[in-house]
């Protein structure tokens, strides 16, 4: 039984994680939050107190930490006595934080794949370039490391596994669809770190089809999806983390990821990309200053956390899983619908942060309870999905299913 949690990061997702840990501190124990900018940590702690989110009296402490500094992170882990680290800082930190966890023997959870600042869209499978290189060492040392335990990747991986276990004899297609039908009222904003958001789309699009990696251009392939609550929405084939582990773990089924985009997003993205402003490679100004254009774009865009108060509407994220059941073709859609405004009222964050921040807390609860304390490195689809879905149902993200028998809530 592990307990006491260190949250790394202080953005919109970290805010949700902090609130949800606080609401479950009877299970999780002490809560520590660490980020480069201590003032942002303090704001999160203040918000947790404001909403009286702590289920029972307990430790809730903030720390300044540069999590690229492995020794500093190890010191903080030891000093605080945490046994579970939830890394929701920038994706550039993963390998450093993972190293600190492996060296101190504590459990590691993240929600997005590791990235190196100067590289985008590396060779598939992406996990193979960084995280999976530590898999053998984790297993040897008995380290629990749960990769990609946000919503997507994360919950959608569990949905794919659930469909395989429960609803199909053989899976042929996994189509993950992520639609944000909400509106933030700004001219343009990304729903999480703009740097990471844009990096997802400036490279080529990898999908796993017919047993091999397929390459497409961004916005090359669009498709209208008719979805519960949000209606018919246009989504585009994109590269995304979960494709890179599901390709390995779904018995050879095709795996594609689709994200909804409006024409306005596509236009802004296209202008910025074609001009070279989304580049992760530095350019030199006429005055001789070296600067990465993408970091300047990030600097002028609204902070995703600032979108929360005015955000309205819903998200719908789920898996269309197709295959054979009892000799016949079958398709199920397993999904969640979240509401931006409800998220804001509960934890002070918008719906995208909410859907990304609740699942790693569910994973931490499952580690604390022993269900998911795997003692090795795993992607979410390698863990039993039912306890995860049950905890998610309880702490704020209801799973539903739509199939030939209708549309209904799921629990186990």
């Amino acid at each position: 039984m592990k307990k006491n949690v260190l949250i790394i990061g202080a953005g919109g997702v970290a805010q949700v994680v902090a609130h949800k840990c606080a609401q479950n501190n009877d299970i999780l124990g002490d809560i520590h939050i660490a980020s480069r900018t201590k003032a942002k940590v303090d704001q999160i702690i203040e918000s947790v107190h404001e909403k009286k989110a702590l289920k029972q009296p307990g430790v809730l402490e903030g720390h300044a930490l540069n999590a690229l500094d492995i020794e500093a992170t190890k010191d903080l882990i030891r000093k605080t006595g945490v046994q579970i680290v939830i890394n929701v800082g920038t994706a550039f930190l993963n390998m450093s934080v993972l190293r600190a966890c492996m060296d101190t023997g504590v459990a590691y959870i993240d929600t997005a794949i590791h990235e190196e600042p100067g590289k985008i869209c590396e060779t598939p499978p992406w996990y193979g370039n960084y995280e999976w290189k530590r898999a053998a060492e984790c297993e040897e040392k008995g380290i629990t490391a749960i990769l990609g335990a946000g919503f997507d990747p994360g919950v959608v991986n569990a949905y794919a596994r659930l469909a395989k276990d429960e609803y199909l004899d053989k899976v042929t297609d996994v189509d993950i669809v992520d639609i944000n039908a909400g509106s933030h009222g700004k001219y343009f904003a990304t729903n999480f770190d703009p740097e990471i958001n844009f990096r997802e789309f400036t490279g080529v699009v990898y999908s796993w089809q017919k047993g091999e990696w397929q390459v497409n251009r961004m916005f090359e392939i669009g498709k209208d999806y008719d979805l519960p609550v949000v209606g018919t929405r246009r989504a585009y084939l994109c590269g995304h983390d979960e494709v890179h582990s599901l390709a390995k773990n779904m018995d050879g089924a095709d795996v594609r990821f689709w994200m909804g985009f409006g024409d306005h997003y596509i236009n802004v993205f296209t202008v910025l990309k074609n001009l070279g402003l989304l580049s992760e490679q530095p350019v030199k100004t006429a005055e001789g200053l070296e600067v990465v254009p993408l970091k300047v774009v990030k600097a002028v865009l609204p902070d995703p956390a600032s979108l929360a108060p005015g955000y309205e509407g819903k998200t719908c994220i789920g898996d269309f899983v197709k295959g054979i059941k009892d000799g016949k073709e079958r398709e199920v859609f397993i999904y969640n619908v979240a509401d931006h405004k409800e998220a804001y009222l509960e934890v002070g964050s918008q719906g995208i942060s909410y859907t990304a921040g609740v699942p790693p807390v569910a994973a931490a609860i499952l580690i604390a309870q022993g269900d998911w304390d795997a003692k090795k490195m795993v992607n979410v689809e390698e863990l039993p999905p039912k306890p995860f879905i049950n905890v998610l149902n309880r702490i704020g993200l209801q799973t539903c299913i739509r199939d030939e028998n209708g549309d209904r809530e799921l629990s186990f």
Copy 2:
């Protein structure tokens, strides 16, 4: 009789100025070129030699100079013995270069209004904020300073004066129209320094109408113009230098400036502006680097000088001047049509640089010959227009007129 010319700047316009000075070095004497980046100066000198542009054997020398350093500029003026300075460097240099000319007693010519890096679109009339503050001192010292002697401002100011002198008894409206119907084949590029180009359009739009300054938004007012050679083109009311002197010098006539824009330019501009990427004010990246977004946009866009080889099509720039002649309404359109490819073949620059770079050389020739050696600070419409038009006709920019009597070339 003044002679020997110092060209300040080494961009596309400076290239044209150098070639045209060389072609007229029998009148202008020694030619010196100075810029922060000596390598760019050397390239221009090499190009002049390649095209065998020097009319007669003579001095053609390059120098490294930070023209914000007034003492260094004065030293170079004295050392080279130049009597005419053509300033076609960035608009941030004007007041420094002008000061150096005033202190050394030499003539000054520029092609665009002074700008301060941290300010855009100041109080009209723009010349009143900087240049005109030196007018009394210039007159006292007998310094010839010709402001805004490019095409627009510059030639279009002379066209307005010509219409007032020759074709109308009373002018009621001056509408300057600038259409670039050429194509550079890039996704997006500006035809001169992107920083200066965008700064023209990120503020409000000032026009002089009914005896006062009118304020509009950029792209608020569009109008289709039917023009010689380039056909019907949509142009938008913009702020521009020449409005700010013509407002004073056209006996109270309305003065408006219209520039042609395609939908693609407007879209890119709108995206960049709305995101804050055209701001002249620094922002701070997440890593703490202070950077001016507009300078990064400039860094990623093609160098305007690089557009020349592939540029095709024509420009049409001119003045619709309306008023009363012999008791009846009359309108004349005085204009020039230039060709991008012809410009490139002659001087290695595209048409926009050509139309901006030829006129200051015509002005220098007129100073050298005594016609325009005003011994004070003037805007172009305060000088006799006919000798200017005649020199322009001779050195590469033919003036035409379209009125009730048809469409024809003009010379005097």
